[in-house]
């Protein structure tokens, strides 16, 4: 079967258009009905000019309330009733089908490519399909072209797979929402943008996808747009990402300046170190700028602050966009540009340190979160840190391997948490849960598999990828980074089992009424959970390292796309030792969590009063960690507040006096010119004819005198 690559992003785009059009039309009808009803109820309000003005205030003080968002949960069934069944069915079918067909189209391309690639020892050349010459300006031309190489193949595989599963899951999860159609439209649009990003053959096109996923992320975080905290979270994500995009754009310009092209042929030039010597930018600066973009999208320190807040969106969104796919785009970018990064070793070191630092920082914050989704969000930030750590020490393939395995177990965890939240009727505070295991068996089993996987217990997926990251850090001599990573592995195991213990074991902590309502989710939700859990179980076997008798197929497959970094051979005995060490650390984390939370016996039924073992055991450190190391406050004090002061100064001092002066002066000038224009435009034909003659005379004299 021969399916052109452009169909893969085009299918979700078609889904978006279809869903969007139907949802818009239905929305307009509903609004018309509502306004008719309103008019019927207010017969003499026809000339009331006041209505509509309130919209602007809705988002106004969202910032103040976002801190308490933990306890809000995602707003439920906002605004009105669920859609009629037929409409729901339409949106669901269109959404899932467009995504599923994209997956089919993707695998129709992937299977032969992967087969051929694995069959030849050196890999095969990337498939590049030019769809359209977008623009050609001077020496630079930008094509709409799609590229299938090992790196994009691997991204394509899990993005379409996980994407389809999460669409399916959403059919059940979102069924009570009024904005069902809007949700699927946005989700399809996201898939389009993500696939564009993955399949792009040039940085500008990648950037289109990059901005597209950012837009969808913003739209979906703010899905409950009548909730202040959701609007504020969306804004925060948007603004933070702009900081990153600033770097990204400059980075792209830098690449163009360095290599004279923006399509991925610059990678070959980079491999041969064919850098334009006359360029005013250095490779180091370009790497840092691109990394700034990656930090924004992939939530690395200090730009990670938006991701935990992004949990204000619906849970499938958190799973798809903010755990499995979009947030890994930054890692993808760094891996894609690996050939450039290896030219700037200092930049790589910085990437590694930022990654490791973020990993441990987010993990510690995750220890003390009580909102089930927040724990997972910080866990995502932490795991992304691992991936950057891997890239930073030169193990790009291993980093991408972790991207791959992480997509399965983290999506599974998020979807599981969604199932838990639904069972708990939109309660997200783990202190109000407990003992859910027997009541929601399927969710429990799948989540436990994913929890074991992320904790790094062999032979689950997370073990192989994480262990190879640590191994690479050790092998390249980054001992400190190795230790940090190892410690983070322990923390990971701790907070994940804390989550499991608080949610599924022990006595139920909520009200009796809530306990009665707990129910298992429908099949559209459990089936994706099981598929993802299967992935979490077995995905790791794609990359079994040599020390364990494997051939590390996954990393080997990716090699043609990535920079070649000199290998550091470590004796197998050392490798066994490292593996044993990390498993031991994970077990310690698990054991500690089990002990601390095993006896957590809150007698009170009120969640907030339930004591957290963490506070009791960690003493003074607890409150700081629980307050997320005060990073938000730090940013406020170090960045936002000075800027606000500067802004005030510019407004009062500079603008009011200087700029307004210029503006007023230019307004005066404009008025003067206007008077002049008016003087000529009298409406009198005689004047016009005179003006005409004057013009002719002036031009004639002009030509003659010259």
């Amino acid at each position: 079967m021969n399916v052109p690559l452009w169909t893969i992003p085009a299918l979700p785009l078609a889904g978006f258009l279809l869903n969007g059009a139907v949802a818009l039309r239905a929305g307009a009808r509903r609004a018309a009905r509502a306004s008719e009803a309103w008019r019927a109820a207010h017969p003499d309000a026809a000339h009331d000019d006041d209505h509509g003005g309130g919209d602007a205030h809705a988002a106004h003080d969202g910032h103040a309330s976002h801190g308490s968002a933990d306890d809000h949960g995602s707003g439920h069934g906002h605004g009105g009733a669920a859609l009629p069944r037929g409409q729901r069915l339409f949106h669901g079918v269109v959404g899932v089908a467009s995504c599923g067909l994209a997956a089919v189209a993707a695998f129709a391309n992937l299977v032969p490519y992967v087969k051929a690639s694995l069959a030849s020892p050196e890999g095969i050349a990337p498939v590049v399909q030019h769809a359209y010459l977008w623009m050609a300006a001077g020496g630079l031309s930008v094509d709409i072209a799609f590229r299938l190489d090992p790196l994009s193949a691997m991204m394509l595989a899990f993005v379409t797979l996980v994407g389809t599963l999460i669409h399916l899951y959403s059919v059940g999860y979102m069924q009570e929402e009024e904005g069902y159609g809007r949700f699927f439209a946005y989700l399809n649009l996201f898939m389009f943008a993500m696939l564009t990003l993955v399949l792009a053959n040039s940085l500008p096109m990648l950037f289109i996808g990059w901005e597209g996923v950012g837009l969808c992320s913003y739209l979906l975080i703010g899905y409950y747009y009548d909730k202040d905290f959701a609007v504020a979270a969306g804004k925060k994500a948007f603004v933070t990402n702009r900081v990153g995009d600033f770097g990204m754009i400059l980075g792209i310009f830098g690449i163009i300046s360095l290599f004279g092209t923006a399509d991925f042929s610059f990678l070959d030039k980079a491999r041969h170190a064919m850098v334009n010597g006359g360029s005013p930018v250095t490779v180091y600066a370009v790497c840092l700028l691109l990394f700034l973009g990656a930090c924004g999208k992939s939530a690395q320190f200090p730009l990670y602050v938006w991701l935990p807040d992004a949990m204000a969106g619906p849970t499938p969104v958190s799973a798809l966009i903010h755990a499995a796919t979009m947030v890994t785009a930054g890692v993808y970018l760094v891996a894609r540009c690996s050939a450039v990064y290896v030219l700037a070793p200092d930049a790589m070191t910085l990437v590694a340190w930022i990654g490791a630092g973020t990993a441990v920082l987010a993990a510690t914050i995750g220890l003390a979160q009580n909102d089930i989704k927040k724990v997972l969000a910080y866990s995502t930030v932490s795991q992304l840190g691992y991936m950057f750590l891997a890239c930073g020490v030169g193990a790009f393939g291993v980093g991408m391997f972790h991207v791959f395995t992480h997509a399965f177990f983290k999506a599974c965890l998020f979807l599981g948490s969604g199932s838990v939240i639904m069972a708990m009727h939109h309660e997200q505070d783990m202190r109000a849960m407990g003992g859910l295991a027997p009541k929601i068996r399927q969710t429990f089993l799948t989540m436990m598999i994913a929890t074991l996987a992320i904790s790094g217990i062999p032979p689950l997926a997370g073990f192989f990828s994480k262990d190879q990251i640590l191994g690479a850090a050790f092998a390249t001599g980054h001992t400190v980074l190795y230790v940090v990573g190892l410690g983070t592995a322990g923390l990971t195991a701790f907070y994940m089992f804390r989550l499991a213990r608080m949610t599924f074991y022990g006595p139920f902590q909520g009200t009796k009424e809530a306990e009665g309502h707990v129910h298992e989710s429908p099949a559209t939700m459990t089936v994706p959970l099981w598929v993802l859990a299967t992935g979490a179980l077995f995905a790791g076997f794609l990359g079994v390292p040599a020390a364990l008798g494997g051939r590390n197929t996954f990393v080997r497959f990716l090699e043609p796309s990535l920079a070649r970094v000199p290998e550091h051979e470590v004796p197998h005995s050392t490798e066994y030792l490292l593996m044993g060490l990390s498993v031991a650390v994970a077990l310690v984390g698990i054991g500690l969590a089990w002990r601390w939370y095993g006896q957590a016996t809150a007698t009170s039924a009120v969640p907030s009063a339930a004591a957290d073992a963490f506070y009791r055991k960690t003493g003074a450190l607890g409150p700081i960690v629980a307050n997320k190391w005060n990073v938000d406050e730090g940013i406020e004090a170090l960045v936002l507040s000075p800027f606000r002061k500067l802004g005030t100064f510019l407004w009062r001092g500079f603008d009011a006096l200087f700029i307004d002066g210029i503006v007023n002066a230019s307004a005066f000038l404009v008025e003067l010119t206007g008077d002049l224009v008016r003087f000529f435009t009298t409406g009198n034909v005689r004047n016009y004819a005179l003006a005409f003659s004057l013009g002719v005379l002036a031009f004639a004299l002009f030509v003659l005198v010259r």
Partner: protein
């Protein structure tokens, strides 16, 4: 006496011939058309324009390889002329769509109205391919005369009649100047055929007679494209004429005038580019300033669009200037195709904006003042969005056609050695944001008083939708248009 030219010459003007016949037919049919069936006249007129459009490639195919000169060099069918012919037919067809209801609900008969529009189109078609100053001039007059009548067609509207009278008197005045210029050129060059003129100019030394001739010709041309200092008629006429006719005036005649402007000055006066380029530069600078600053002060939307179209004429002049400066290092002639793209963009966005003015009705009339747009986004979000697209495009904000057009024009001016003009153009584009966004502000930020009504005109709405699509398409995927424009250059 036998026909003095090869019979295949008739094939060259096949679209013009057919369109003239159909216009005559419509004129006759209008006398017997039954009450209430007048709209058919409009649709037949549109069909006639479509037929002419279809016949253009047929004519090109049948009459031999392009460029094909005919009638002893009176006109030449080439890709350049085809480009303009298609645009002109499109503009006329859209004008008829805009007029459907306007004429239908008025007490004025439609037959003559549509016939005059078609005759005007015939004139513009001939202008596009004219290569002889006499044929160009006669075609120009055919177009202009039809337009004088159209401007005053609704003759009980005082404003409309006043506009028509002004347009007629000043138009005649400019024709006189143009004709005098042509006669001086004839005196200097000894021929009226553009190719002969060019050869003669290249052979003779610089003379002030020719200089004055060129200046007078340029003045006539600048009048037609409403460039300063010959622009003063435009705002009054645009304001006073019926809205569909204002839309037509701001697009159709201007496009045709650009076609002959480019042809006369590049083909005919090309060897003397050094003489006339400074004149155009001065006019361009003045036009950009006058148009954009003048628009700042307008409350009337049609008048504002009138001034804005003056500003756009100034931008387009940059392209003529750039072309005059020749080719770049790679031998690529960069000025003319930029104008072609810009004019295509200008057609789409201007017609679209006027279409919305036609569609929106406030207090029983078509929209007049900027305030009439208040609160449009609440009442009709789609219309507001469409208007926003056109405003963005007019202001030259990506990803719209206007941006692409301005980008190519301004960069052409830079490359051609007019950086100061390019800078001024950018500055004036910034100024234009003020007045375009006054409409945007009215639509989105001001509460309306509930007077704005949407006229049920699916045909116009469809035309506007096409303009939106075209504006965005040209803005997002400019490459095929660039390739097309590059293939439609003058020799």
């Amino acid at each position: 006496m036998t026909f003095p030219f090869p019979a295949s010459d008739l094939l060259v003007i096949l679209p013009e011939l057919v369109l003239t016949q159909l216009a005559l037919g419509i004129l006759l049919w209008a006398t017997v058309v039954r009450k209430g069936r007048e709209a058919t006249l409009a649709w037949v007129s549109i069909a006639s324009l479509a037929a002419a459009a279809v016949l253009i490639p047929v004519a090109a195919r049948l009459s031999g390889p392009l460029p094909r000169a005919a009638f002893g060099g009176m006109l030449t069918l080439d890709r350049f002329s085809i480009f303009f012919k298609v645009l002109v037919l499109l503009a006329t067809a859209v004008t008829i769509l805009f007029s459907l209801k306007f004429v239908g609900t008025s007490s004025y008969p439609g037959g003559e109205y549509y016939a005059l529009l078609l005759f005007s189109a015939v004139g513009m078609l001939f202008m596009a391919s004219g290569t002889h100053l006499v044929s160009i001039y006669i075609a120009l007059e055919l177009m202009a005369l039809s337009q004088y009548v159209l401007a005053g067609y609704f003759k009980r509207e005082t404003k409309s009649v006043e506009a028509a009278a002004k347009y007629f008197v000043l138009g005649a005045f400019s024709s006189g100047v143009l004709l005098y210029g042509i006669s001086l050129v004839y005196g200097a060059a000894g021929s009226l055929d553009l190719g002969d003129v060019a050869r003669s100019l290249a052979a003779t030394p610089r003379s002030s007679l020719l200089g004055v001739g060129i200046v007078l010709t340029a003045s006539g041309m600048l009048f037609k494209i409403a460039s300063a200092p010959f622009h003063v008629w435009a705002p009054d006429v645009y304001e006073g004429a019926p809205t569909p006719i204002s839309a037509f005036f701001s697009v159709g005649p201007k496009l045709a005038a650009y076609a002959i402007f480019a042809r006369i000055f590049f083909v005919g006066f090309g060897p003397r580019a050094g003489d006339w380029a400074p004149v155009l530069a001065a006019s361009a600078a003045l036009t950009m300033v006058v148009g954009n600053v003048g628009a700042l002060l307008q409350q009337n939307v049609k008048r504002m669009l009138g001034y804005s179209s003056i500003g756009h004429a100034g931008y387009a002049l940059l392209g003529l200037l750039a072309y005059a400066s020749g080719t770049d290092a790679r031998g690529e002639n960069f000025g003319l195709w930029a104008i072609l793209i810009y004019l295509a963009a200008y057609l789409l966005m201007t017609l679209g904006a006027f279409g919305l003015v036609v569609l929106l009705e406030a207090k029983g009339y078509a929209t007049e003042s900027v305030d009439d747009f208040n609160g449009l986004s609440k009442k009709n979000p789609l219309a507001a969005a469409a208007m926003l697209v056109f405003l963005l495009s007019l202001a030259g904000i990506p990803p719209t056609a206007g941006f692409v057009g301005k980008y190519f024009l301004f960069s052409a001016a830079m490359k051609a050695g007019w950086p100061s003009l390019a800078l001024l153009a950018v500055l004036m584009s910034a100024v234009s944001l003020f007045y375009y966004f006054r409409i945007a502000r009215a639509m989105y930020l001001v509460e309306g008083e509930g007077e704005l009504r949407w006229r049920e005109e699916p045909a116009v709405a469809a035309a506007v939708a096409v303009c939106v699509a075209g504006t965005l398409l040209l803005g997002i995927l400019p490459q095929p248009f660039v390739a097309l424009a590059k293939s439609c250059l003058l020799p």
